[in-house]
Symmetry: C2
Subunit: 338 residues, 2 copies
Amino acid sequence: MAQDKLSKDLGEQGLLKLIQAYCATDIVGDDGAILNLKPSYQLVVTTDVLVDQVHFSDRTTSAVDVGWRAATANLSDLAAMGADPIGITVGLSLPGTTPTSWVEDLYRGLSRCLQQFDTPIVGGDLTRSEVITVAITALGQVQSKQIIARSQAQPGDAILITGYHGNSRAGLELLLNPELKTNLSDRERDVLIKAHQRPQARLDVVNKLRSIDPEARVAGMDSSDGLGDAIVQICNLSKVSADIHLDKISRSPSLQKLTTHYPVSEWIFNGGEDFELVLTLEPQLAHKLLTTLTPDAAIIGQIRATKPEVPQIRIFDQQQIIKLEESKLFQGFQHFLG
Amino acid sequence: MAQDKLSKDLGEQGLLKLIQAYCATDIVGDDGAILNLKPSYQLVVTTDVLVDQVHFSDRTTSAVDVGWRAATANLSDLAAMGADPIGITVGLSLPGTTPTSWVEDLYRGLSRCLQQFDTPIVGGDLTRSEVITVAITALGQVQSKQIIARSQAQPGDAILITGYHGNSRAGLELLLNPELKTNLSDRERDVLIKAHQRPQARLDVVNKLRSIDPEARVAGMDSSDGLGDAIVQICNLSKVSADIHLDKISRSPSLQKLTTHYPVSEWIFNGGEDFELVLTLEPQLAHKLLTTLTPDAAIIGQIRATKPEVPQIRIFDQQQIIKLEESKLFQGFQHFLG
């Protein structure tokens, strides 16, 4: 059976042939891929490297999921800039002992995720290494007026999140400790695990935003490194402060059930890999956008002018300013906390 | 001294700061870089992954040279398509024990090579791994009429090489076996070693070609995988045959001196990494182009119609068809040989 073969048995040419089945057919044969941008669009480029045992592990992530998550992470970076994807390249290095089925599953996961957005794999490289490494470069296009940047938040903006946070981190916990006893039903458990294994890039939000107002100024980024990190980065680069209302941050029913025994608030702020967008925009536009999104999206705070010079982030719970554990909430950014 | 520090001592933020000194300043801060293509140009994308102990080794290649060679390999892929470079991304994974001086030297080598062509590093990723891996994606732009493709060679075309072949492989041999006794002077030795450590992408040839005839049909690729491989690939994808005249292939004086003791012909055909261009184009244009190049460039043969169906490559020495050692000349492509 082909599934039991090792990469080294198939050889480089055999492995390339297997991979090419998942790539755009018109790009095979030359040194590079040729792609078209729409007139007056700019090119957006983003790169992510995933390493076995650092970013994924057989314990928690199948090869299909590694591919899916890698595609999502890169598409999410494009969404965070307001860009449409046009293609990705995949630089894969792996030991000869990697089963060919693993390689095929990786590409299956990548292309399943990409197909949702009609995005092809346009090229790549394949080489030997002692460690599986997946280096992805995603290419997108955006009109200059529609670029979402971290640096363009303004006082008065509403802060909008496009979905639940903390689910991915909770899912990882359940995968790492399958013997853990929780009060979750199988279905609630699956919701969290799926959030970790099959996250979605929010390119849909970018499209909705444009159909409401094609030229609106929007600041933002994705929450791949955590909701807290996203807020801090936006404030830092826009030189503004923020008020965040803890009670406004939507929690999934599954996550809510874990509150007693797990540091759920920390997971929400610092868990990361939820791949939602954290946007700041004029309140009226934020409310309009919210009506087009599912109920897990929410307006969670406001941007304020920075005074004194250092950006401050105040966190409110039921209108009371609370001091959360700073070091846990915004690791490395304690000085920003009010 | 900063040079003695290990990556792990500097931390990810410290290392990023060090790297950012070599990157385009306007791209730092957001998830992706934004680049402009000239109107009516198409995007060209190419990816290469280099792995420690597979593609480079401390024995033969300093970190500066690893960077230089990586940049050249990617720029050469763009030149092979007829494209102008617009930027590269660098996905770097490395062990915490890698000296920070190695990382800085890598970026120094990359940017020294790129600066020759005003090409910035526009983004990347940095992550931990047990094995140093450098994944580069190069971005270029080309007008559709100026694309050089492997598939567009036509019978009657002249086959032109832009420089010496075999020098890089000879240089590697000298680096691997420094104790080897040769009849080379120090200067002749250095020529070969430099060919290996500091190869040049032939973007200059692309510019010359355009100034002679902006819309000429040109087929070709680079000789990074060997001169023989390039000829075979072009013939295969263009469905044509080729006659190659061995005596027309320029040999550097240094390489010529090694002929008695080393398989110099094999190095010329299969050594690889010379990063010259192998072009097929109308004879008149080929001769015009040749007058603009240094004497190491040469017209080495002609493209013929393929008859029978399988492309044939005939190799002539002084008008005699010779049978070279097929398995060594065109590894894996023996059936193409006449």
